[in-house]
Amino acid sequence: MHNAQLNRKGGTVNVIQSAMHSVGQHEVLMETSPYGIEKKKLGMWVFIVSDACTFGAFLFAYGYMRVGNPVWGTPFDFASVLNGVVMTAVLLSSSLTMLAAVRASQAGAKLSTKKWLGVTMLLGTIFAALHLKEWFSLIGEGWRLFHNPTGGAAQFGATFFSVTGLHLTHVVSGVIALAFITRGYKQGRYDASHVETAGLYWHFVDLVWMFVFPLMYLMNAH
């Protein structure tokens, strides 16, 4: 980043904090982002906004059917709710370990960054395993996408498996992305900004669960 002076109509204009990027033999003068963040981080924010709208649409569709249906299935006993609380604690802990990884990467502590990213991936994997345990338990009881074994509204399976499945896909994708980030960071291809951008995604996955757990589990507990 350089400070540059431009002569314009006989006057001198100081362009402060402008970025001069060399492209081959040419120099391109670019303004810095008004957001003060890197483009990859801004891109992640745009993705998060679009994903928030996607999850919002799914959850509102579910809420519409849940509230409007007097014979909705409530398959979750206290053990399932407890399992959900443990899943929440695991995901929330993974957000904290992700924060630790981001801090370590910003401090240039490579070993510590790799350690915290590893712990985050482990917690994400535990979350996915607990989630699949809950799924198999429901499937074992006869719940399917379009079948309610208790004879009530059939939409419970469709909404539960689609919303939690979409979230689970995000968690698994996040773990895979973190594995790539860790590998790249280890090899020196990625830096702290990549870790921070991945962290943003991971916190978003945690944020979505804060809506999925009360709406999908607690609203359907007996």
């Binding site: 963040i37 924010w45 809420g63 519409y64 409007g68 957000s95 804060m210 507990a221």
Partner: protein, 100 residues
């Protein structure tokens, strides 16, 4: 991000514990046998509170330039609030009865 203004790691752990306490309150509310509408409103309110804390502190929006917040959140919230038009119809469906 202004790293020098950020919270310490122990403060973040405190925020995590606070979020878990809210989850605990949600579980307690679930077993109070509230009406569906009341339970939904209570759980959604608490979830929004959790989300606000997560966005501001865990996702560091509090420490970014305000323009980021004002560019992203009003538009997103507007979209999500528009979806709330669905609720009255859902409550209407819940009270519908078959005609004799």
């Amino acid at each position: 991000m202004s790293a020098n203004r950020e919270l310490s790691m122990s403060s973040y752990v405190g925020i995590g514990v606070g979020l878990m306490v809210i989850v605990g309150v949600e579980v307690v509310l679930t077993y109070q046998h509230l009406a569906t509408r009341t339970l939904l409103f209570s759980l959604l309110s608490l979830a929004c509170l959790e989300a606000f804390v997560a966005v501001m502190y865990l996702m560091h929006v509090k420490y970014e330039r305000p323009i980021l917040f004002w560019t992203i959140f009003p538009a997103t919230l507007f979209v999500l609030i528009l979806l709330c038009y669905l609720w009255p119809d859902a409550f209407r469906m819940a009270s519908m009865r078959l005609l004799q």
